[in-house]
Symmetry: C2
Subunit: 477 residues, 2 copies
C-alpha cells in the first residue's frame, strides 16, 4: 500500500479515503490528537486516535518524536485549524522516543541549545522550515543558470595556489602530523606530501571559473569555500557555500543586470514554492523581535522584505556619489555612525550600506566603481587610474550580499597590478594565460549562499541556516 | 545591439538577419572561412570574411583562439556541412592569440598534455562536450530529487569525526606547520587548532544526511568528498563529487527502485538535452578505440550504452546467486579471471561485475544481500546473521556505479556491530541518537558523480571528466 506524505494528504489531490502514512509525533494531546509530521511540509496532520479501542501500551508510546505508522481514513475535520484529519484505524509505533531523555522538548529552546543538537534541531518547525527554504533556494540557483545557458563548473576545493589573498586558508595535508618529513634546512618537506606541495582549502572558485568562462562563455560555480579566520560573529562561517557566475564578453553593466535578474528569480521562486514555510518564518521573526528594541528589529516583515527585492528596481549608484550622500547624511553629521565617513577612499561598513538602502534610497542598491586600493587585484582599472569596475549589491537588514567586478582583461595592466599588490605571477601563470590567448571583456560576481538564506528566512545568526556550522572551536558532527 | 549565441544562431529561431556575435576562432581557412565557437554548443558557426575588403593586419590576427566580435548577416550557406552561415560585414579582434605560443594547436593532442593545460583544455571539442554533459547531468540530479520531494542538504566538508572508516583522510589544520603547539607529552596540540580538535576532509556525507532524513523524510547531498589514498589509477580521484540520497521509511526494495528510476532520469535528461555533444563523444570514442584490441574496447557505442541503461529493467540478483553464477562461469573455470571466485564471501572485482552485466545477464544488474564482513558497520543485518541489506548497481564497461544499503535502525544491533568493528561509539553519539529517538527503517545510496560522467561521456580516465583533477602529486591550478 502506497504511503502518502503529509503534504499530499493535506493537499487532498489524488488521495483515496483509506491511506497509510508514516512520520514523527510532534505532540499528542488529550490521549487522542496526534500532530504528525513527516518533513514534507511545515504543517502537521491531525490524526485522531480512538483511545478507547487502542492498547494502553501503545498509547503510552505515542510521545514526541516517536516514529509511527498509521492506517486510517482521510475525513473532513470537525475541529478548528485544519480542513482534513485522519481517523486512525491502526497505529504502530515503529520507533519509541523516551520523553525523559529526548533532548528537544515541546517547548521553546534557545537557538544555542539547538546548535549543540544540530543532528536533532531539524526536527523543530523553525529549522525544518529554514532547511526546506535553503533547499528550494539551491534549486532556484541551478534552475536560473541552466535556463539561461550557463554551465555548472566544479572548481577545485583543494588548491595549490594561495595567491588570491581573499583570506586566511586552511592547510590540507596527509603528512604524519607528529613526525612530518623535513628538508635539509629543517622545514616541513611538503614535497613529500600527497600533492607534492603545500595545499589549502579554496577561498574562491572565481579564478578557475574564469578559465571556463573563456571557453564555455557562461559558467557558474556553487560549492563550498573556506576561511580560517577567527571571527566569532553572527555573520561568519569557516565553511560556507558560494555561488560564482562568470561570463565572457559581459561588462559591468551586464553583470549588474545579471545579478539583479538572478536574485529576483531565486527569491521569486521561494515566494511561489515555500509559501507555508515563509509564513511560519515571518511569524517566528515577529515573535522573536517583540522583545527587542525597535532599532534592532528587522526593517520590515519577512515577506515584505522579499517583495522589496523582487518588486523594486535596484538603484545603481557610484561609490563616489554614495560617499557624498553619506558625508552629508544626518547620522554622519551627528556622529551616530560607528565609523564616520570623512573622505573618498573609505571602506564602507554595514551601517553605511544599510543607511543607503533603508533610509536614503529605500530600495536595493548597487554601488559601483570603487577605489582600486580597497578592492582585489583582478578588477578592471577604470581610465581614471584610481577606481575599478567593482560592484557590491546592498540589501536591507544585511548590507552587502553580492560582490562582483568586471575583470582586468589586459595582460600588461594585470601584471602591473599584481606586482604592485605583491601577487606572485609565477603561481598564477595559468590565470595570466587567459589574457595572452584570446582575451576578452568578462565579468562575474560572488554571492555567499548562507547570506542569501539568512535574508530569505529572517534568521539572524548564520549558524542557523547551514546544517552543521563550522566556526572557531566547533566542528562537531 | 544584442549579442546572439552560436547556439541561437544555428537554431535559426527568433533571430533577425543582421546580428552581432562574439566568440573564439577555432580555425581560419583560406583567409576566408572562420569556424567560430562561443561555448554555447559543440558546433561552430561558419563566418565568411570578405578578405578583399578586410584590412590585412586584421586578417593576420584571425588565428586559433583569438577572441573576435563580428557583425554580419545570417544567410543560407552555399557550402556543405551547415545550413546557415554568417556573411561578415565587420570583424574586430578583441584578443589576439599568438599561434607560435598558443599551447593548444589545431591538431590532436594527447590527453595527458591537455591535463597539464587544464585551464585551456576546455577550449577543445572533447572537453567542452564533456563539461557541458557534466553540467547537464548535475542539473538533472537536482531536478530529479526536487521534483520528487527531496530536500538538498549540504553536509559538512570539514569533519571532526573519522569514524566511518571509508578511507584515508586529509587533515585540515590552521596550525603553524613549522612550529605547531605541543602538549606536555610532546604531541601536536590540536586543542590549539582552529576547531579545538583534529579535523579532516569528509569521505562521505551519509551519516549526517541520515540525521536530516529522520526529520525531513527525503534528502540528498551532492558535494565534494575526499580520499587521501595513493591510487594512481584511471578510476580514482583524491577529490570527487558524490550524490547521496537518504530516505526515511524506505527499505532496500524501495532503495533499488529509487536508484534505478534516478539513473534512468538523469541519463534520459542528457539524451534529450545533449544530443550534439553525445553524438560528438560517440564518434570520438569510436575513433579512439580503432587502435585498441577488441577486448579493451567499449562493449557498445556510447549512445547505445546509455539506451542500454535507460531502456532495460535492472536485474536484481542476490550476492549468493551471483557467486554461484560466477563460480560456474567459463572465465572462472578456465581461470581467465585475475581473481578466481572460490567461495561465498569473496569480494567481487570489476571483472566479475562486468561479466555479470555484459555476458551473463546482458542488462544492468543490482546485487543485494552481501556478506556482512565485506560491508560497512551501518548496514542492516539480515535475519541470517551473516548478510546485510546492501546493494551495488553494476554497469557495463565500468562495474560498480552505485553502492547503497538499508541502514541498521536497531540501537542494540548497531552498537554491537560498532563494537565488533572497532568503531568508537562516543564519537558517533549523535548517530546513535537517531536510533534512540523515533528510529525507523531508512535507506540510501551513494553515487560517485565522476563515475557517472565517465559512463555518460565515454571518456576512459576519470581525470578527464572533472575540470581540475586532484590526484597524487597533482594539485595544479
Amino acid at each position: 500500500m502506497k504511503t502518502y506524505s503529509v503534504k499530499e494528504l493535506l493537499s487532498e489531490v489524488n488521495v483515496p479515503q483509506d491511506v497509510t502514512l508514516k512520520g514523527w509525533v510532534r505532540t499528542f494531546r488529550a490521549n487522542r490528537f496526534i500532530a504528525l509530521n513527516d518533513g514534507s511540509t511545515i504543517n502537521n496532520i491531525q490524526c485522531v486516535v480512538d483511545f478507547e479501542n487502542t492498547d494502553e501500551e501503545v498509547l503510552k508510546k505515542i510521545t514526541t518524536s516517536a516514529a509511527v505508522e498509521i492506517q486510517g481514513s482521510l475525513v473532513a475535520s470537525q475541529g478548528k485549524g485544519q480542513n482534513v484529519e485522519i481517523q486512525v484505524k491502526n497505529i504502530v509505533v515503529l520507533g519509541e522516543s523516551n520523553p525523559e531523555e529526548y533532548p528537544i522538548q515541546p517547548k521553546k529552546h534557545s537557538l544555542e541549545f539547538l546548535r549543540q543538537n544540530a543532528h536533532l534541531r531539524v526536527r523543530t518547525n523553525t529549522f525544518s522550515a529554514v532547511m526546506r527554504v535553503r533547499s528550494a533556494l539551491s534549486f532556484a540557483v541551478h534552475q536560473y543558470f541552466q535556463q539561461n545557458g550557463f554551465n555548472y563548473v566544479n572548481t577545485p576545493i583543494i588548491t595549490g595556489s594561495d595567491a588570491e589573498g581573499a583570506g586566511e586558508m586552511f592547510r590540507v595535508s596527509a603528512l604524519d602530523a607528529e613526525n612530518p618529513p623535513k628538508t635539509e634546512d629543517g622545514k616541513v618537506d611538503f614535497e613529500e606530501d600527497f600533492f607534492g606541495k603545500e595545499t589549502n582549502l579554496t577561498v574562491s572558485g572565481q579564478l578557475e571559473a574564469e578559465t571556463y568562462a573563456m571557453a564555455l562563455g557562461k559558467v557558474y560555480t556553487f560549492g563550498p569555500t573556506f576561511r580560517a579566520e577567527n571571527s566569532n560573529t553572527t555573520r561568519h562561517l569557516a565553511e560556507f557555500w558560494m555561488i560564482e557566475p562568470e561570463v565572457a564578453f559581459m561588462d559591468l553593466d551586464g553583470n549588474m543586470d545579471l545579478a539583479e535578474d538572478f536574485i529576483k528569480h531565486v527569491l521569486g521562486y521561494i515566494k511561489e514554492n515555500c509559501k507555508d514555510d515563509l509564513e511560519f518564518l515571518e511569524k517566528r521573526l515577529l515573535d522573536e523581535e517583540k522583545s527587542k528594541p525597535q532599532k534592532d528589529r528587522s526593517p520590515m516583515p519577512l515577506r515584505e522584505k522579499i517583495d522589496f527585492i523582487v518588486e523594486n528596481n535596484f538603484k545603481r549608484v557610484s561609490y563616489t556619489e554614495a560617499i557624498d550622500i553619506l558625508k552629508d547624511s544626518k547620522p554622519n553629521k551627528k556622529k551616530q555612525f560607528d565609523y564616520i565617513i570623512e573622505e573618498w577612499g573609505a571602506d564602507l561598513q554595514s551601517e553605511h550600506e544599510r543607511f543607503l538602502v533603508e533610509k536614503h534610497f529605500k530600495c536595493p542598491v548597487i554601488l559601483f566603481d570603487y577605489p582600486a586600493k580597497i578592492k582585489a587585484f583582478y578588477m578592471r582599472l577604470n581610465d581614471d587610474g584610481k577606481t575599478v569596475r567593482a560592484m557590491d549589491i546592498l540589501f536591507p537588514g544585511i548590507g552587502e550580499i553580492v560582490g562582483g567586478a568586471q575583470r582586468e582583461e589586459r595582460y600588461d595592466v594585470l601584471v602591473e597590478k599584481m606586482k604592485a599588490m605583491g601577487i606572485d605571477e609565477k603561481e598564477l601563470w595559468w590565470y595570466l594565460d587567459l589574457r595572452k590567448y584570446g582575451t576578452a571583456v568578462h565579468s562575474g560576481f560572488g554571492l555567499g549562499f548562507e547570506r542569501l538564506v539568512l535574508f530569505a528566512t529572517g534568521m539572524t545568526n548564520i549558524r542557523d541556516v547551514i546544517p552543521f556550522p563550522r566556526t572557531p572551536q566547533n566542528a562537531e558532527f
